[in-house]
């Protein structure tokens, strides 16, 4: 009888281990998402429906892309020139392709492009689609000073200085590119180019 009891207990233990190992096996098979760094790239654009994007405009580009580091100091920092040049060169290519005219900022362009980048994510700044709290107006000349966290993000904004009301500059188009800051310089530049091109293929420029 004692032998039978022992046998039953062992079987039960085996059952439990079998079940446990089976669950672990299936848990191990839980499918993964992206395989490559570029699989995590995301392009977000939004625009003011009140602005006429069918017209052509004069615009100015900044010399460098501002690095947003969350420090509230007077001296702005800039991102590496190699990435800055890649971003600004792509913007010029896409804007010129729409027959917009680049002029110097001192010549009062209709649209001033503001480019900034984070080596932190701008999750708080860049809510997912449908998320409330998005606004078109920012105080000061350079909109978009916010804190954030990890990953690499680029923020391009088209502002209209002549439309300023109460020292607030309206933003008529915004583009956020977000991805993992990984890979060689060339790989990152390639992704910047691809994603900025995508931004100009989205509304309102895809009409």
């Amino acid at each position: 009888m004692a032998y039978a009891m022992k046998y039953i207990l062992n079987v039960k233990r085996f059952d439990f281990l079998f079940l446990f190992s089976f669950i672990l096996f299936v848990a191990g098979c839980t499918p993964e998402g992206g395989q490559y760094v570029s699989d995590y790239d995301l392009v977000y654009t939004n625009y003011s429906p009140d602005y006429d994007f069918n017209k052509t405009y004069s615009y100015s580009l900044p010399d460098r892309v501002i690095k947003i580091d969350g420090n509230d100091d007077d001296d702005p920092e800039y991102i590496d020139k190699v990435y800055s040049d890649a971003i600004l060169s792509n913007l010029k290519t896409n804007l010129d392709a729409m027959n917009w005219t680049q002029i110097d900022e001192s010549e009062s362009p209709e649209i001033v492009i503001v480019a900034s980048a984070f080596d932190k994510s701008f999750y708080y700044y860049f809510p997912p689609p449908g998320y409330p709290g998005w606004g078109w107006w920012y105080p000061g000349y350079f909109p978009g000073y916010v804190g954030g966290y990890k990953t690499g993000s680029i923020l391009i904004q088209m502002t209209v200085p002549n439309g300023a009301i109460n020292n607030e500059i309206p933003v008529i188009w915004i583009c956020g590119i977000n991805g993992l800051l990984q890979g060689s310089t060339n790989y990152i530049i390639d992704r910047i180019d691809r994603n900025l091109d995508q931004a100009f293929n989205q509304a309102p420029f895809n009409n």
Binding site: V26, L42, T151, G179, L180, Q198
Partner: protein, 196 residues
Amino acid sequence: MKFKFILFVGLLAISTITVAQDKYSLNYIIGFPTGETSEFIGTTSWRGVGFDYTHELNRNWGIGGSISWQTFYEDIGYQTTENGTETVSARRYNYINSLPIHVTGSYFFNSSKKELTPFISLGVGVMYNKQEQDLGLYILSSDAWQFSLRPELGIEYELRYGFGLRGAFRYNYAAKSGGLDGLSHFGLALGVFWDN
């Protein structure tokens, strides 16, 4: 008379204990999305596991419980979607994790071949569903516990006394609740059973 009564009750209790057995089964489950589930994910799930317990009341009837887990996944690819003035482009991956938990009642048919036992079963319970979409580095996720019914049709094949193979086709129905659509699916459960 009193002695006869005690004997009667005692024999009845012993016979019940003798007949009543506990049956366990472990299954690998292939999941087929249906309804709202198939609108979110169209592909078959090859990732599922389940455990069933049945307390046999007599030769035909049993009550018990069932728990299983099914993971649905689909790589939607690079998608551009517009919502008003907003546009988002990213590679998207859709996931649904389902955890049906049911109290079950089963009926085992008598068969001309004694090693084959067809059965039907109905489960009533809840299903935890977690629906998730990954886009870029972002995750949009919602989950809910949903009321669930699970009709099942199956067959057991006894290889030796108290042990055999088991196959069943089941429908895990989930009712819409918690702001989440009812995420139902079919399951083909293949596994083993053993008696204790």
